[in-house]
């Protein structure tokens, strides 16, 4: 699927550009895109290094395990195939709570760490497990309590009530998360997983 999308984006883009006679833009776009990819990754290094360090302390001290215990009834239903005291569960829970509080920067490293732990449980290292897809779905549709970036933009443009969209955002995000979980469950069954 990603193969097809990736291929289509590039080939359709090039064909359209050729017909429109702006192939020069494609040249620029390719290098700009590549640069953006690397820039984002370098931006991630600082966040990843810092939060993985902090998370190591939380893990060694047992904090992550305590945390996991509190939220585990919910997580066990969402991730039935992850053993309940596996380290992956702790990271999944940390990722979920960070997302909930709008701490996107803190959520990504924990999500990646959770993926690494889930990969250890994965019999086929090239293929995503259902648990991985559920985690990904929770992250793309992330429930946001406080959309800080957009509030900042609204203030910037002189909104009379910048936070008035918090309620509507919460509603929309709840809908997308709900649909993500439902579709995930449906596909899980249809793709031959339990």
């Amino acid at each position: 699927m990603v193969n097809l999308i990736w291929f289509s984006l590039i080939v359709i883009g090039i064909i359209v550009a050729a017909l429109e006679g702006n192939l020069q833009k494609v040249n620029e776009a390719a290098f700009e895109g590549a640069k953006a990819g690397v820039t984002i990754c370098f931006g991630l290094i600082s966040i990843l290094v810092f939060w993985l360090g902090m998370m190591k302390i939380a893990q060694e001290s047992g904090l992550l395990q305590i945390f996991a215990k509190i939220l585990s009834p919910l997580a066990r239903r969402l991730f039935p195939d992850v053993p309940k005291d596996h380290p992956a569960m702790g990271y999944i829970l940390a990722n979920m709570s960070a997302n909930l509080f709008g701490l996107g920067n803190a959520a990504t490293p924990m999500g990646i760490k959770a993926m690494e732990e889930l990969q250890k449980l994965n019999p086929d290292k090239e293929r995503a497990t259902p648990a991985m897809i559920t985690l990904m779905a929770l992250n793309t549709s992330s429930i946001t309590l406080i959309p800080t970036t957009i509030i900042a933009i609204r203030l910037n443009y002189g909104s009379s009530n910048a936070v008035e969209i918090v309620g509507t955002t919460l509603f929309a995000t709840l809908c997308s998360t709900l649909i993500a979980i439902l579709v995930d469950r449906y596909c899980r069954r249809n793709y031959g997983y339990k």
Partner: protein
């Protein structure tokens, strides 16, 4: 309300950091050494993501710059007018799952053009705040562990985005319409 929210967002991370450190110290951990040990993983993880992200960003960037995205939008606009969806919002709804930076740019542009307290301004704000960039999350998460066969992950992500966009249009119409 606003001061409460800004206060929470300012305090959340420092409080979390402090709590993790104090708890670690109470449990008798050498906190600094433990931090460094964990932090070592960060660099490698970020570097592993580079090829995946570069590949995806190049493709999205070409698709947008070529004008193909504009054609796709023009192709879709008749359907939207039937459903009473403002055409101005469509580029945002379509780009949101593909490019986070692109979506942010469009949102800023819409807010600047129509004003933050207009219908379109509020709708754009809600849409921007309510989902994450599916393609980016997919690339970063699966890229980090080298998974190539992603199964139904994209389908789940995109359907959730669609649901979020529709929900945003409905709720903004009800609340602010």
């Amino acid at each position: 309300m606003y001061t409460l929210i800004t206060t929470i967002s300012v305090w959340a991370i420092p409080t979390l950091i402090c709590f993790i450190l104090v708890y670690g110290l109470i449990k008798g951990l050498p906190v600094y050494e433990t931090f460094v040990e964990g932090a070592k993983d960060g660099f490698g993880t970020a570097v592993n993501i580079i090829p995946h992200l570069v590949g995806m960003m190049v493709a999205v960037s070409i698709f947008r710059a070529s004008g193909a995205l504009d054609y796709l939008l023009a192709f879709m606009s008749p359907v939207l007018s039937v459903l009473h969806i403002p055409a101005e919002i469509v580029p945002l709804a379509m780009i949101r799952p593909i490019s986070g930076a692109g979506a942010l740019a469009i949102t800023s542009d819409l807010i600047e053009q129509y004003g933050p307290d207009s219908f379109i301004g509020r709708l754009a704000s809600t849409m921007q705040g309510s989902t994450d960039t599916t393609l980016y999350v997919l690339t970063v998460y699966f890229g980090a562990i080298g998974v190539r066969k992603i199964g139904y992950a994209l389908k789940v992500g995109l359907l959730a985005d669609l649901a979020g966009a529709i929900a945003a249009i409905i709720i903004v119409t009800i609340v602010f319409g």
